[in-house]
Amino acid sequence: MPRTDLLRVTVAAVALFLVAATLALRLDDYLLYVVTLGAIFATLAVSFDVLLGYTGYLSLAHGALFGVGAYACGILTAHHGWPFWAALPAAGLVAGAAGAVIALLAFRTRGLYFAVLTLGIGLIGHQLFLVLAGLTGGVGGFVGIPSPGRPDWVPLDQNGWNALLALALLLATFLAAQLFVRSRLGAACLAVREDLTLAQALGIRVGQARLAAFVFSAIFTGFAGALFAAISNFVAPESFTVLGAGFQLVALVVVGGMGTLWGPILGAALLTALPEALRVASGYSLMAYGVLLLVFVIFAPRGLASLATAGLARLRTGAGFRAAPAGERRP
């Protein structure tokens, strides 16, 4: 049964990707850019969900890991002349390696201590982007990152190509995450999240499982960072702060629905589209993130995903809406 289920998910995801790409390419350049950024943040959110939603650890270091991927790509392409297609996997590996080091340190703690420790690491990362100006360009930012190379036969301009790449990365991340959570490691991660002691009693190597989850999320966060850098042609430390990118990831995943993988995509879509749709100043968007996050964590801790599921079920049965039981547990 799981195999046919995976097949169904894959077909649905590919179909949605094709629809999204077709629709997106009809948009004007500005909206196309919004879609591109939204897809990158959705990629971040999906990979973050593997750690937060499936394994139960709140990392605040992922904003910095996003930066590691971005700077790695920038340094390799702009300084060393690598093509984007070689820099992308390399950036993922660099972020994955950084993630492995962070994980080995951070998993010596848990709960709040894990959050505070990763918070400290995230801050160190952000400070390092500022201090290591020789590599990163410091506070002024890193300029002149080449755009992702576009083959001649592609009948798209650079903006369209960027959007297509971002959506394709989202698709690849989503499918990889689906494979991961269905694997034995994924099952072990769920066990870690739900009951560490019982997981150990069942002989699950909990250290291995949560390390795998952290590194998985770090690698794909690195890919997203690399694409972000190449698309923007410019990156600066303020894109990788703990309370900026790091916090946004938490908001996207929680608002979307932890532990669902598709919920965070909804969350990213909503939280990217909302400020654009309302045409509000960027000052309000972080505010909106905060308010939505608070409202969801209190009233709908399973996020948009559970609301959507409940809504669909209601449509299907035609029965009246039944609120989730008050004591409902969150993943």
Partner: protein
């Protein structure tokens, strides 16, 4: 003659005093209620901005500060009601997320009201005290004295008042305390009030020396977490000495190595302490969260 080392030490102690004031409130709220109050930095920031607003309107600094502290106390209790009470029964992860959200909301509110640019509160007291070995501004002395007064005040409340006894009982064992008929409502209110007040005092005082801006609470609250970890969660002496220690280290790193590295130094201490001595240097057993 002025000895550079002693001068740095004094500057470090002054800076550390504000960290300690922030950490006192944070450690109290976490030690008693098990709430990782990321929004504590915003209590500090709002203490500064409310004082600023009233001083700008022509009010005396000290009166403005007192009113600001009162307002932040109300706000602290409101934050507890709206952000923390509703997720009391939820897993600890929800509490952390809720705290993050509260922090961002308060910060962005200040951004909307006052804008992002840095401002300064005119210092109520100017001038310096010159000694043979170091120079200290009167404002620095006031900050250090406030830490001593605040720490003594908190100690008195906890150890000499009935309410303090209740607070300590809840910190020891919440269920047992509830069975003994202690009012959780009062304890929560008092803990948040004291914690918020300490944060606001620190913010107002610091604002009289340094520029203030809506995100000014971020670094101090993170450093207060460092202090918490250094001193042991829930330990008041740990918060005081941890804060002073962190301040001195930062000033020394900035003075002798590089000012760019001082924040990295502080956070590296956080990481190292969490790894080597997660129970802190003053705390005993701690709550598994």
């Amino acid at each position: 003659m002025i000895d550079l080392f002693v001068q740095q030490l004094v500057n470090g102690l002054a800076l550390g005093s504000t960290y300690a004031l922030v950490a006192l409130g944070l450690t109290l709220i976490f030690g008693v209620l098990l709430i990782p109050n990321f929004a504590h930095g915003e209590f500090y920031m709002l203490g500064a901005f409310l004082t600023y607003a009233m001083v700008l309107a022509g009010m005396n600094f000290w009166l403005a500060m007192a009113l600001a502290v009162g307002a932040v106390i109300l706000l602290g209790c409101l934050v507890d009601r709206l952000a923390f009470k509703p997720v009391e029964q939820a897993p600890p992860l929800s509490m952390m997320i809720s705290a993050l959200a509260a922090s961002i909301i308060l910060q962005q509110s200040a951004m909307l009201i006052w804008g992002g640019e840095a401002r300064t509160i005119p210092a109520p007291v100017t001038g310096v005290l010159r000694t043979p070995f170091f120079i200290v501004t009167w404002m620095q002395l006031i900050v250090m004295a406030s830490l001593l007064l605040a720490a003594a005040g908190v100690w008195l409340v906890l150890n000499r008042l009935r309410l303090g006894l209740a607070i300590r009982a809840v910190a020891q064992n919440r269920d047992a305390a509830l069975l003994m008929g202690i009012s959780m409502f009062q304890v929560r209110l008092a803990t948040f009030a004291i914690g918020a007040a300490l944060g606001a005092i620190a913010g107002a005082l610091l604002g009289a020396t340094f520029p203030i801006y809506p995100t000014m609470g971020v670094n101090p609250v993170l450093k207060a977490f460092v202090v918490l970890v250094l001193g042991g969660i829930g330990s008041l002496p740990g918060a005081v000495f941890g804060g002073l220690f962190l301040g001195v280290v930062e000033v020394m790193v900035a003075g002798y190595i590089s000012s760019e590295l001082s924040d990295i130094g502080a956070f590296a201490i956080l990481v190292a302490v969490l790894l080597l001595r997660p129970q802190g240097f003053f705390g005993q057993a701690q709550v598994e969260r």
